[in-house]
Amino acid sequence: MLKFSFWDILSNLLIATEWTIILSLIAFFCGGIVGLILLFMRTSGVKPLEWFTKSYIEFFQGTPLLMQLFLFFFGIALFGVEVSPWMAATLALTLWTSAFLTEIWRGCVESIPKGQWEASATLALTYIEQMRYVILPQAARIAIAPTVGFSVQVVKGTALASIIGFVELTKAGTMLNNATFRPFLVYSLVAAIYFCLCFPLSWFAKKLEGRLNAAR
């Protein structure tokens, strides 16, 4: 039987960490783009669009991320479409992220005083122009801290992709444990790596929050 040294375990985990980071980045950025589109729909005042985004958000916030991964991985396969674990994980995490980001950003948009909407409307700006030039620049300032804070949830959320067989940090940990039978060591290392990814993010979010409050 193959022997695994501590360094073998750690280096294998670090290699898998790359996929956790890539999956997180894709989910976060694609989720951000989808979230921005949803935000425009959600605050448009057009009833069908608002209704659609509301249901969308309710679905992704009201069901476990794991079920969403299963739906994408097994569900779509039922229609004869081959879905790789990578595809399913990316899709599910992107949509899941977008739902939460839309909701966070909606709160920020709604915290902008009504007078800003009225003044810009009176100057003949359209809804899109109001958002682009008046509302979002102000809302973005407020949104930065909670958005960075949420990125921690995305990183931790990627761990669930291990269950549909996508080899990222958690899956690599499981595989190494099966090979070495040293669960305490392996999972401690896995947890430590997640912490190293997440702690700087939450620290940064806190710092941003503090700076924003000081600026007021």
Partner: protein, 242 residues
């Protein structure tokens, strides 16, 4: 043809009817002062004129555009109907110049350089040339309100709506704003003002409208109306504010 023509406009907020059939004509160059108690519907009426509030029946024509129409061209309408608010509502993330240039560049597609020249011109008009590159938060309330006026003027409106524009100001700052408005009136700008400044309404207004319980209760030439109010409600109102 009147510049703004309001015909039998009715508006309710839920069960509460705030405008109960208001009619009013505003000619080019008029300075219309709308007075009345709070809750009389005067601000709502003003906000109906540029489509900030929808109304249920009647008609408002502003510069030939039907405001409440199903396919009302609100963008076209609002390019010609400016509005200044009680709370200034400057955009805090933009400089003074940025505030004044935004609609010009975005809506009118005016080139930046030209927009800045227009900004300089309208800011000079309100006496704030030296504040072009200041931020709204660095200005006093009176200065902010004058920037808000300049921001509207930059769009070359045909009529300017003023919704209690001095009500949020400290007393010593009221006059600098009123002087700007008076100057605009002298230059022939059509103004519709909801105001609590009775002396200003009398001295600068060409028409006084007293609103009471969602109706135009009395109207006429300001000096005559103030000197001899016909209805007891206006007599009482004038008595209470004088």
């Amino acid at each position: 043809m009147p510049l703004v023509s309001i015909r039998d406009v009715r508006k309710s907020f839920g069960a509460l009817e705030v405008l109960k059939g208001v009619s009013l004509e505003v000619e080019k160059g008029d300075v219309v002062a709308i007075i009345g108690r709070s809750g009389s519907g005067k601000s709502t009426l003003l906000r109906c004129i540029n489509g900030l509030e929808a109304y249920q029946s009647g008609a408002i024509l502003a510069d030939g555009i039907e405001v409440g129409g199903l396919h009302a061209n609100l963008r076209e309408l609002r390019r010609h109907v400016g509005m200044v608010f009680q709370q200034f509502n400057l955009f805090p993330h933009l400089t003074v110049a940025g505030n004044v240039m935004l609609a010009q560049t975005v809506v009118n597609k005016t080139p930046k350089k030209e927009a800045r020249e227009i900004a300089a011109e309208v800011l000079a008009k309100v006496g704030l040339s030296e504040k072009m590159d200041a931020w709204p938060s660095q200005l006093s309330g009176g200065q902010q309100q004058r920037v808000a006026i300049a921001r509207s003027l930059a769009m070359r409106p045909k009529v300017l709506l003023c919704d209690e524009i001095t009500s949020a100001l400290d007393p010593e700052l009221v006059n600098e704003v009123l002087r700007v408005v008076e100057q605009l009136a002298k230059e022939g700008m059509t103004l519709i003002l909801v105001t609590h400044e009775m002396r200003f309404a009398r001295d600068v207004g060409t028409k006084l409208v007293f609103m009471h319980h969602g109706r135009v209760h009395e109207q006429g030439a300001p000096k005559e109306v103030f000197a001899a109010p016909k209805t007891p409600e206006l007599q009482q109102f004038v008595g209470s504010v004088a």
